[in-house]
Assembly symmetry: C2
Homo-oligomer: 439 residues x 2
């Protein structure tokens, strides 16, 4: 049996503690499967005295993770601290510059400087694995950078934030408001005290930026993402979607178009009969559409200490199974030096169907006005539902339109014209419809 693979772990939160426990409990089994033992030799975390339910007494303790990465006698540095800058960044660079393999779950770091880190890793012959950074336990990184080699990917899209999907699922199933569901998600630990990063779509955007690079071979462009969160989704939208045969999901979508690559994160209507529409609660799902394989959809736990630790463990095992000197798999799917510049397709040129919910004053000519503006912008309608508003606003009506495929700028122009007419109560609600395989 070969020599042990020596691991240093920086960050002992939920994921880190799970990982230490698993590596200790399954030591013998892992040694058989990987052909050599995996041994934790050093750890680093903020608080040495916290009880993490694991025995750290035999391990070298480093106050400073960067020092661990610089000095410890290790083969793999596992970064589980998080954060796009600071210790996480410095320690990963320190490890790579020594030619030490790195495993990380840090999507923010990769989104910010993944190309630079990939370049360092490839120059030094080190591996940089990060399966846990996107969609937790779902092996989407491996699918894109290994299984789909040779395929031209056309679109990758998915539910990549459990908090948002939990909220939307509860709103639909129980008829609760967004605010109530958010509170419930916070109570259950599915949402942070400050939930903005999740519900505004930023978390999904970081993950999408990484997938875009793997899918299309372009440089990571986390700032070139159209972003719209779920805070404006109302129970009325969800009900209207259901009536029309749709569910609303927060999707991240990256897609090749004639004008460049679209990256967008927004609430999206998906056909109720599609597989992805059935993905409920904190579960994640990622679909990859490519020219040889067709559509591959993967569904699984997107977060949680164990699911994330499982992905980290898989990354470590991949290194354990490879032999010294065996640099495999380019970090970002192709050598970092060969990544193409990212050419952004603006959201204005997006083409697709749209759901539009308008609350309008109940007076003559309103509907004709709406129809005229749609026609003037070349937008044809797939369905129209008009119903009286119940309750206190009985003098208003709700009109729901579903368009055939049209361009975003035409749609916006039509909505602006409708708004300018003065009969709208409140703002127009516009939700993009995403074509899925079941269409």
């Amino acid at each position: 049996m070969s020599h042990a693979l020596r691991i240093g772990i920086a960050g002992l939160g939920t994921v880190g503690a799970s990982l230490v426990a698993l590596l200790q409990q399954r030591k013998n089994e892992l040694a058989v499967t990987c052909g050599r033992p995996i041994e934790i030799v050093a750890v680093s975390a903020r608080n040495r005295n916290r009880d993490r339910g694991v025995d750290l007494s035999a391990l070298d303790w480093y106050e400073n993770p960067v020092e661990l990465a610089e000095k410890a006698e290790i083969d793999v540095f596992v970064e589980l601290m998080g954060g796009a800058t600071g210790s996480a960044d410095e320690s990963v660079r320190a490890a790579l510059s020594r030619g030490i393999h790195v495993v990380t779950a840090n999507k923010a770091l990769l989104a910010r400087c993944g190309v630079e880190l990939a370049t360092m890793a490839e120059e030094k012959g080190a591996l940089l694995n990060y399966e846990a950074a996107v969609a937790g336990g779902i092996p989407v990184i491996k699918a894109l950078r290994e299984s789909l080699t040779g395929n031209n990917v056309r679109r990758v899209y998915g539910i990549m934030n459990g908090t948002c999907n939990y909220i939307l699922t509860r709103m639909e199933k129980e008829g609760l408001s967004f605010a109530d569901c958010l509170k419930e998600a916070q109570r259950l630990g599915y949402a942070e005290a400050d939930p903005a990063f999740d519900i505004e779509g930023n978390d999904t955007a970081h993950k999408l930026a990484i997938l875009t690079t793997l899918a299309f071979g372009t440089r990571i462009a986390p700032d070139d993402i159209y972003l719209e969160g779920i805070t404006n989704i109302s129970i009325e939208d969800i009900r209207a979607a259901a009536d029309l045969g749709y569910r609303i999901k927060l999707l991240g979508v990256a897609q090749v178009t004639e004008t460049g690559i679209e990256q967008r994160v927004h609430p999206t209507m998906v056909p109720r009969d599609s597989v992805i529409a059935q993905v409920d609660g904190v579960t994640n799902a990622v679909a990859i559409e490519s020219d040889i394989l067709g559509e591959l959809l993967m569904v699984g736990p997107g977060a949680g200490g164990n699911a994330t630790a499982s992905a980290v463990l898989g990354d470590i095992a991949d290194i354990a199974k490879s032999r010294p000197g065996a640099q495999t798999v380019p970090v970002l799917g192709r050598p970092a030096a060969t990544l193409e510049p990212y050419r952004r397709a603006q959201i204005q040129s997006h083409e697709g169907g749209y759901f539009i919910r308008l609350t309008v004053e109940d007076r003559a000519g309103v509907f004709a006005g709406i129809a005229t503006h749609m026609a003037a912008n070349g937008i044809s309608l797939e369905s129209i539902v008009q119903r009286p508003q119940s309750g206190r606003e009985a003098s208003s009506q709700t009109i729901i339109l579903v368009t055939h495929a049209t361009r975003e700028d035409a749609l916006r122009s039509a909505v602006a014209a409708i708004s300018a007419d003065g009969y709208l109560v409140g703002n127009a609600q516009v939700i993009r419809i995403e074509r899925t395989k079941a269409d």
Copy 2:
């Protein structure tokens, strides 16, 4: 750039021809991604003169695939002939005995002698990759043997035969009979002229046997599988299932139980709201339940020249990316020598819910008799539907029972007792219910 990876391909049917075309068309792109060119140097097929739409003129042609495997100057032997014995078997052994890597899509060969081949490969330091052998383009082999390392798998189950799923989907959506849907599947090329291998469940069984070994680390046991095809599924079953909130799918299931490992292939009721219930037509799906990760579900094309070629290409690319001498990944998830004996759990000890459809004579006391036999065998009922039979058999009634979890032997004993009472018209229809994540 390193030297080219030299490939020999035996078998130029749909998959082989797709693969040759892809390797030729995407030569430059693959060289960038893999860090070195992939070059086909030799091929073998039955008929040299057939037009396959690809240019083979620059390649060495071997009449005999075994000779190709024995003599060609290649790094990887790609076996796409199929068949559990004969040329496929001999040529794979010839290649491995030279220490040449093998990529194959041959589930029958692996089910029959996978452990032996894995042992040869590991002794010679060769890789044996076979992603295309199970569920076509879905990367389930990679998920089980790489991503889930360290996990204890509890159950793996899936829709792994497109022909059966196509037939069941059409029966449900269009209310057609099994025979009509089979004819339609044959007309469209989704079913063979002799469809027995698919519709009796044998094809699913081969794939399941491979997944069982990867999931549980036991020796491949293709003959220890409980097998029941879809030929007895009637439109009445599908309608009754729908009424109760279920769909019927042909599943292969491998599961750890107290008495051993169950391997079973049979028509199965799955909750209509579960993700796997939405998998329609020729699409495949595989779910893996493990203790760290939780449930991972993968959905994608299970057959077809391109989808299969995509998986083969991924396997070749994995070899291209690895460096000489870098033996990675044990063939069957752990070194072949460490695989445990397979301990079969008999179907009689299976525990689960059951759907039972009985056509009975319309006379007093029948229902009481049925209920008494169920109770006598300790079976409690979740739901009971009784409705008059329409049409010519108006003197009979249909009774549908859904049981809570019970043992198969208790269920069979109850059904035998009911049959012995003499009021059944025809045979009792019994369909197992599979718990899914959505339950």
